[in-house]
Subunit: 362 residues, 2 copies
C-alpha cells in the first residue's frame, strides 16, 4: 500500500490512489481522464490525492489495454544527414505536444535491418510511423504496415499509389528554379550530379532541371549528367569524372549540399575557381552552406515545418483512419550565394544577428 504524505511510494498505481481515496479503481480512472459520471467533490479529492501521491499512469498498461500506445515510430535512413535530423527534431517536439513519444529507428534503406526495426516498432504498438526515405523496394513493407492498421506518413521521398500521406516540397519546381537561375546568369554548359534515382525527390529534381533546360533550348551532354549517393565522397567522385576531360561545364547542380561540398573539393583539386570558372548549386541549405568560407547557393527547404506537418497529419489520421490520402507540399526557396556568382556584399545576407548576443568574458 502507498504510504501517504512524506515520501511518496515508489510508483503508486490506480489501486493505491483508489485505496487512499476510499473509492474504486474505476472512479479514479474516470476522474483522472476527465470522463463524465464522477461527482464533483469526488473528482477533486481524487485529483488532489493523485497529484500528492505523485501518481503517473503506466503507459505500458494503458497501451496494452487500448491496443495502441501513444508512441510514434520515426524511420531515418541516415542520421548523419542534417536534413533528417532537422526533421527528427521537429517530429520529436511536435509529438511531445500531442503527448506522444518517438521511437527513433536508424536502419538505412530497404534492408533486413529496416524490416526488423519496423517489426519491432509494430510490436510496440506504435500508433503511426513516419518514413523519411522510402524507395520503391519498400512498397511491400509499407503495404504490410498499412494492412496492420498502422498509418504512415512519408516525408521527402515517396512511393506512389500507396495508402499513405505524404509531406514534402515541390522538388520538380526546385530543380526548375535552380536551373533557371543558372540559365539567367548566362550559363549554357550545365552539369548535374544528381542524387540516386531510387529517391523520388532526386528524380523529380533532375526532371525539373531538364524541363528548364529544354525550355531554354539548352542541351546537357550525357557525360555531364551523372548520379550517385548523397555523400561527400560521391560528390567528389562524380565531379572528378565530369571534370576529367574537356570541354568543361560552367556550372554544376548537385543533389544536395554535401555532394556539392565534395564536388567543390574536386573543382579545387582541378585548379578551378568557384564561381569564376564554374558555378555550383546545392540543395538543402545545411548549416555550413551559409558559412563565409563556402557561401553555397542552394535550395532551402523548411525541414522543421515538414516534420511538424508529418506529425499533425499522423494525428489526424490516427483520429480518423478513413481520411482520404493527402499530399502536403511546403514551400522551398532558392538561396542565392557566392558559388553562383553572388559575391557577399555587406551584411545584407549575413546569417548573423546585427547585435552581438550576450557574451561573457572571463
Amino acid at each position: 500500500m502507498a504510504q501517504r504524505d512524506g515520501q511518496q511510494c515508489a510508483r503508486p498505481t490506480l489501486f493505491d490512489v483508489a485505496k487512499c481515496a476510499g473509492v474504486s479503481i474505476a472512479t479514479v480512472s474516470y476522474a483522472l481522464n476527465g470522463r463524465p459520471g464522477v461527482g464533483e467533490e469526488t473528482r477533486r479529492r481524487v485529483l488532489d490525492l493523485a497529484k500528492e501521491m505523485g501518481f503517473r499512469p503506466n503507459r505500458l498498461a494503458r497501451g496494452l489495454r487500448l491496443g495502441r500506445a501513444h508512441v510514434l515510430g520515426l524511420l531515418i535512413a541516415d542520421i548523419a544527414n542534417p536534413t533528417y535530423t532537422e526533421i527528427a527534431a521537429a517530429v520529436v517536439n511536435e509529438a511531445a505536444v500531442a503527448g506522444y513519444q518517438v521511437f527513433l529507428s536508424h536502419a538505412g534503406v530497404h534492408g533486413e535491418l529496416q524490416r526488423q526495426q519496423v517489426e519491432t516498432l509494430l510490436d510496440q504498438r506504435c500508433a503511426g510511423l513516419i518514413f523519411t526515405s522510402v524507395v520503391e523496394e519498400d512498397r511491400a513493407l509499407l503495404e504490410q504496415i498499412h494492412a496492420a492498421g498502422v498509418p504512415i506518413v512519408q516525408v521527402i521521398r515517396r512511393i506512389c499509389r500507396i495508402h499513405a500521406d505524404f509531406v514534402g516540397t515541390d522538388e520538380e519546381a526546385a530543380g526548375y528554379a535552380a536551373a533557371t537561375h543558372l540559365l539567367e546568369l548566362g550559363h549554357r554548359c550545365l552539369a548535374m550530379a544528381a542524387g540516386p534515382r531510387t529517391s523520388s525527390a532526386s528524380r523529380l529534381r533532375a526532371q525539373g532541371v531538364r524541363r528548364a533546360l529544354a525550355g531554354a533550348g539548352v542541351e546537357m551532354p550525357a557525360r555531364w549528367s551523372v548520379e550517385g549517393d548523397l555523400t561527400v565522397c560521391a560528390g567528389y567522385a562524380l565531379a572528378r569524372r565530369v571534370l576529367a576531360r574537356a570541354p568543361l561545364p560552367t556550372a554544376m547542380i548537385c543533389g544536395n549540399d554535401v555532394m556539392a561540398l565534395g564536388a567543390m573539393d574536386a573543382m579545387v583539386d582541378a585548379g578551378l575557381r568557384i564561381p569564376e570558372d564554374i558555378a555550383v548549386v546545392g540543395y538543402d541549405d545545411m548549416a555550413f552552406a551559409s558559412s563565409r568560407l563556402i557561401q553555397l547557393t542552394t535550395v532551402h527547404s523548411p525541414h522543421a515545418e515538414m516534420g511538424k506537418h508529418a506529425v499533425r497529419r499522423l494525428m489526424e489520421r490516427i483520429e480518423d483512419p478513413e481520411l482520404p490520402v493527402q499530399e502536403i507540399l511546403v514551400k522551398e526557396h532558392l538561396a542565392v550565394r557566392r558559388t553562383s556568382g553572388n559575391a557577399l556584399c555587406g551584411a545584407s545576407i549575413s546569417p548573423y544577428p546585427a547585435e552581438p548576443e550576450e557574451i561573457r568574458s572571463r
Copy 2:
C-alpha cells in the same frame, strides 16, 4: 481464432498459437523463450507454428508483466549538432543489437520540457537512460531517476558524485594537445572562444589549454579568453569581440567546429587570412571540417564509439545494478589541417578514397 495456413490472422497471440498447437499458453511461452522443461518434439512444433502464423510477442504486455520494457531513453539537448547525432546513430544501432528500441528525446538542457520528457520516459518503463548533455542543475533530476531504479549513463558531459556511469573523452588532455600544437608552431598570442562553462567538457578543455600555456610560460590576456554557446553565431560574435581592437592574437582555439566556423567568418570579415594571419583550431571534427574549402584543424573524437560504449555499459548495469560506477574514456586525437598551417599537400590526408566508387552515368 487464428485461421491456419494461407493468410495469417491479423496478430496472433500466445493464445492463438497455443490453440493451434493444442497446448497451453504457458508451454508456448516457455518454448518461445527457450526455457527448459519443454519436450523437444513439442518445442519444435510450437516454434514452427509460431513462425508460420507470424507470431510476434506484444512488447507492451511483456513490459507490463516484467515491470520493465526493452526500451532505452536517449536524451539529446540539440539534435542539430552532428556530435549528438553521431552518438544517436551508434546508440540506436547498438541497442538494436541487444534487442532494445530507443526513445529519442529532444528537450534542450534542464528545463520543464526536459523534466516532462523524462517523466514520460519513466512512464514507459525504460530500462535505462542515456544523457548526452547534463548540467549541474540536472542533479536533482538524475538523482530522482536513480531513486526510481533506472540506471543512467552520461555521455560527453557529466556531473560528479552521482550514481551514474560516464562515457567520454579526456577533454583536459584534448585541450592540452590543441594548445601544445599551436605553441609548437611558435604561436605565443593565443585566444580561446570556449564553450559554455555549464558544460563539464568545455570547462575541462579550457583547463587543458591553460595548463599547456602555463607550462610554456605564455600568458593569455583576459580579453582573449571568452566563452559562449556552441553555435555558429556565438563563434562569430566572440571572435568579433576578440578581434575588435589590437593587439590581435595569432591563433584561436574554439569550443567546437561550429564555433570555429563562425569565428573564421569573423576573421574573414576582419580581413585576416587563415592561417597566415591567424590560426584556428576547432573541436569535434564534423563532416565539413575536412572539406578542401575549410580544412579545419580540430580534435577528432570517436562519437560512434562513445555511443556504443554507453549502450553496452547500460546493458551491463541493467543486468547487474550493483556494479560500481564506472568512467569510460575513449581516445581522441588532433587532426592537423590547413587552418593551423598544415597546407594540404598531395592526397596523403585526403578524406576521399583513392579509387572512385561506383558511378552510374545516364
